[in-house]
């Protein structure tokens, strides 16, 4: 074997090995918003292996990595959409396209089996920067049902991240007094505490201690019991300050984990919320006094709550455009919420409150759900350039883009 041949083979084997070793992804020279206490790092790199983030820092070198230069680009964690109907609704006004409501089950409604990873809404929201949806039923009774977390990967087999992680309740609206609903909420929880599945199936003793017309299946009671046992939080939609106080007291009395959704008058009771360590899910774009329970709605609610130490989660009223939560976050910033807190409200805080393991921020060991933006993720003129789910680049094409391509040159 002559030298040339040796060199050739050596190069070849190096080439082959470097191909075979290219199981890492190195995103270089981006502005990285980590959504951790490290905050934002300018012109830095992220090394990803096996779908996980390995390292974040400057001038990372890896011989095994495929490199992608992202100079001038911005990276954030994938956004998490709290309480949407993504995957279970197609067209709001057409009931047969909706799987988000049930008259059969209440608290026990788990929507996992209805979730459609091929829903038309998923690519829109993925290309808007959402990587995980906390999909929730929206029945209008006292209990809407159970929330589950889904990846927006579109995968038929692997979209579900975690099942039945929160229970949603409604105490506003309708004809009945809010007081009665809070009482019924308490009675229902109390009852469920004593329920064992076997016993429930055998005895149906649950009817005796509840008002006429209130019936729970065993499935419903077992869901309630998970709240009583503090295995999952109870999410209650409430806006009026006095009602929020009632609920804070309710959570203490019943010793449950509570999340307030809405909280438009939360600023009036921000100290009490902070003291009780109750997080809030806000839709900061909405400052309309839509009802007598939210006359104190204001655009700096998020800022005031944060100042008092309340943990803020940011969402959107929209399911089709759940990704517009980032616009709401930007508005909250313009009314005083620190930028880094707004980003955490879209990512890290949601992951923490709903116990999504190793998600919601960019740090070593975390799942590499990452969004590359053309600019500031909260700015309305910025857009998503690329999404990575568990380190894999996702083809970002949706119906809107295809329709545009068809018609723009006509």
């Amino acid at each position: 074997m002559n030298l040339n041949k040796k060199v050739f083979i050596g190069l070849l084997s190096l080439l082959i090995s470097s191909f075979s070793l290219a199981d890492e992804l190195l995103l270089k020279n981006a502005k990285i918003h980590t959504a951790t206490d490290r905050g934002t790092i300018e012109k830095a790199d992220i090394l990803i292996r096996d779908g996980k983030i390995v390292r974040i820092g400057k001038n990372i070198v890896s011989s095994r990595a495929v490199e992608k230069d992202l100079s001038g680009k911005v990276i954030s964690p994938g956004l998490i959409a709290p309480l949407t109907q993504l995957g279970i609704v197609e067209i709001e006004l057409i009931p047969e396209t909706r799987d988000d409501r049930s008259d059969i089950y209440s608290a026990g409604l788990s929507i996992d089996s209805a979730f459609n990873p091929s829903s038309t809404l998923i690519p829109y929201n993925l290309t808007g920067g959402i990587t995980v949806s906390l999909t929730s039923p929206s029945s209008s009774g006292l209990f809407s049902g159970l929330t589950s977390a889904f990846s927006l990967s579109g995968s038929l087999e692997e979209s579900l991240i975690s099942s039945n992680i929160a229970l949603s309740a409604n105490i506003g609206g309708g004809e009945d007094s809010m007081a009665a609903k809070v009482q019924l909420l308490g009675d229902s929880l109390t009852l469920s505490a004593f329920v064992e599945l076997k016993e429930c199936l055998e005895m149906h003793h649950n009817k005796s201690s509840l008002p006429d017309g209130v019936n729970y299946s065993c499935r419903d009671l077992l869901a309630l019991k998970k709240v009583v046992d503090k295995k999952i939080p109870l999410v209650v939609r409430a806006n009026r300050a006095s009602v929020i106080l009632t609920l804070i007291d309710f959570a203490k009395t019943n010793n449950i984990n509570l999340i307030i959704n809405g909280a438009e008058e939360g600023w009036r009771v921000s100290k009490q919320l902070a003291e009780a360590e109750i997080p809030v899910i806000l839709q900061p774009i909405d400052n309309i006094p839509n009802s007598f329970n939210e006359l104190g709605s204001r655009l700096d609610n998020a800022s005031l709550l944060h100042k008092s130490g309340v943990k803020i989660l940011i969402g959107s009223h929209e399911t089709h455009n759940a990704y517009l939560s980032r616009q709401g976050a930007g508005i909250a910033v313009s009314y005083g919420l620190p930028w880094e807190e707004a980003l955490k409200g879209l990512t890290k805080n949601i992951a923490e409150v709903f116990k999504l393991d190793k998600r919601g921020s960019i740090q070593p060991g975390y799942i590499a759900d990452i969004v590359i933006w053309s600019g500031d993720p909260l700015e309305v003129t910025s857009f998503v350039e690329q999404v990575y789910l568990s380190g894999e680049s996702v083809p970002a094409k949706n119906r809107s883009m295809r329709l545009k391509d068809r018609y723009i040159s006509q």
Binding site: E90, I91, E92, L93, I94, T120, L121, Y124, E265, R268, I285, D286, N287, I288, P289, N290, S291, F292, L295, G296, S297, R298, L299, D300, H317, E318, H320, N321, L324, Q327, G330, I331, V333, S334, Y335, S374, L378, E379, V380, T381, S382, F383, R399, S400, M401, L403, K404, Y407, I408, Q410
Partner: protein, 460 residues
């Protein structure tokens, strides 16, 4: 989801006089206060005419724009506002609002936007439903809205008259009416009328039923118009021998459209329906001024441009109805650029949330267009929420751009209005400072807000 309230039941209306020229009911009583003389200096100005002036000035005098440009002379007794680092635009105009007719709080008792008792209600007028103390109005003012157009909803094929209002506090709706603004007529295509009436097992229950309904109404209008003309053509002696035709509120409004005095504002999502509506307009010789909620305008952008019809659009709403399924983010940009840049694109809200930041909605639509390679500067995109809606409402001679002689509806922004972080600092209506971020008692609270959770201090 809250928007569904509007989408599902949009459509009421109103009418009154019309073709008979002597009608004088409900005239505008709007009178601006004294603006004094104000010079805004050192601003970055988007004029609304398609231009941008760096380091520009605007002189306001007697409620009007007296001068605009660089290095204006400062007359004596003129208040000066240094707008260094600020941006200035014309007052923002929302061509599609239900403020006042679907006020907040959203209660059945004041949900007055849809006279959904008959598919053609050309006789109702939106202004007769307006609650002037709707707390949504001052919120919109803070978003820079100086003029808004209130429409009946879309439950009906022909829902009634719309009205253009100045965004000022007033005890009466007449006190808000934009002086000299033409009336408009709301029409609706598609799902809403057929759902509302089809659901009652009455006509229309299909899109073809919708179209038959419009045409029947216009045929009746033609007949009434002929009857009026016939009477008018008679000699004075002959007129003394018979009564004038009895006024017909419904047909007066429709005849007003045929006479070109009332502008059609047509809720219409789908491209093919817009094309059908344009043919109906040709059949009966009237003009469609604007298609609203035109989610599919991009599919027929050239046809709209050829016919001189504006499209009023959202930046990104979709999916709440089947006819809203084909949204593209580039919709406004494609409409704008149709036929060599001769399209008329408008961004509208149909929402009390959206109306507070039409600038951001325009920003999203502009950014989507630019990403797709359509080169749209902010000096042009600002027209989507200023001059173009003014044209479509027939008030472009008075507002919509910062030009000498126009009403001094002016907004000073604390930065680039095409940003989520930018807020208004000062909003002038006819030169009168109605919102000033440094004055917590502005905007003037509505009656409803008084005594509620310290509204004047606390609610932003």
């Amino acid at each position: 989801m809250k928007k569904l309230i509007f989408i599902v039941f949009i459509g009421t209306f109103s009418f009154l006089t019309l073709s008979s020229k002597e009608t004088t009911a409900f005239e505008s009583t709007y009178q601006p206060g004294n603006s004094g003389d104000i010079l805004i200096e050192n601003a970055r100005i988007l004029t609304g005419t398609g231009n941008e002036i760096l380091g520009g000035s605007i002189l306001i005098s007697s409620n009007k724009i007296k001068a605009i440009g660089k290095d204006l002379n400062k007359p004596v007794n003129t208040q000066t506002i240094d707008a260094n680092g600020k941006w200035v635009t014309p007052g923002i105009i929302d061509i599609h609002s239900h403020m006042g007719v679907y006020p907040a709080p959203g209660l059945r008792s004041s949900s007055d936007g849809n006279e959904s008792t008959s598919p053609v209600t050309a006789h109702v007028w939106a202004e007769h439903s307006v609650w002037t103390q709707d707390p949504q109005m001052p919120l919109a003012l803070k978003g820079g809205i100086t003029t808004f157009h209130v429409l009946p909803g879309s439950a009906n094929l022909i829902g009634g008259r719309g009205v253009t209002l100045k965004n000022i506090w007033s005890r009466t709706v007449q006190g808000m009416k934009f002086p000299g603004a033409p009336y408009t007529l709301k029409m609706a295509c598609g799902e809403n009328p057929k759902r509302v009436y089809g659901g009652r097992n009455s006509e229309p229950s299909t899109r073809m039923g919708n179209v038959a309904g419009y045409r029947k109404a216009w045929i009746r209008a033609q007949g009434y118009r002929n009857k009026l003309a016939e009477y008018e053509s008679k000699s004075e002696e002959a007129k003394e021998l018979e009564y004038a035709p009895t006024r017909d509120l419904e047909l007066e409004t429709l005849v007003g459209v045929l006479d070109g005095e009332i502008l059609i504002q047509n809720h219409c999502y789908r491209g093919e329906e817009m094309a059908v509506m344009l043919d109906i307009a040709k059949e009966f010789n009237y003009k469609v001024t604007t298609f609203h909620h035109a989610v599919e305008a991009y599919k027929v952008a050239d046809i709209l441009a050829e016919n001189g019809v504006c499209a009023a659009m959202w930046a990104d709403w979709w999916g709440f109805k089947h006819e809203a399924f084909d949204m593209v983010w580039e919709n406004a940009a494609i409409v704008d650029q149709a036929n060599g840049g001769n399209g008329c694109a408008i961004i509208h809200s149909d929402s009390s949330v959206g109306i507070q930041r039409l600038n951001q909605e325009a920003a999203k639509a502009m950014a989507a267009g630019n990403r797709a390679g359509l080169d749209i500067p902010s000096s042009r995109a600002i027209q989507w929420i200023t001059l173009n809606p003014a044209k479509a409402l027939g008030i472009a001679g008075k507002v919509g751009s910062l030009e000498v002689g126009k009403m001094a509806d002016v907004v000073i922004w604390d930065g680039n209005p095409f940003s989520v972080y930018t807020k208004t600092e000062k909003v002038f209506v006819d030169g009168v400072l109605l919102y000033d971020k440094d004055n917590p008692s502005t905007p003037k609270a509505t009656d409803f807000e008084l005594g509620i959770i310290n509204s004047e201090g606390d609610r932003l």
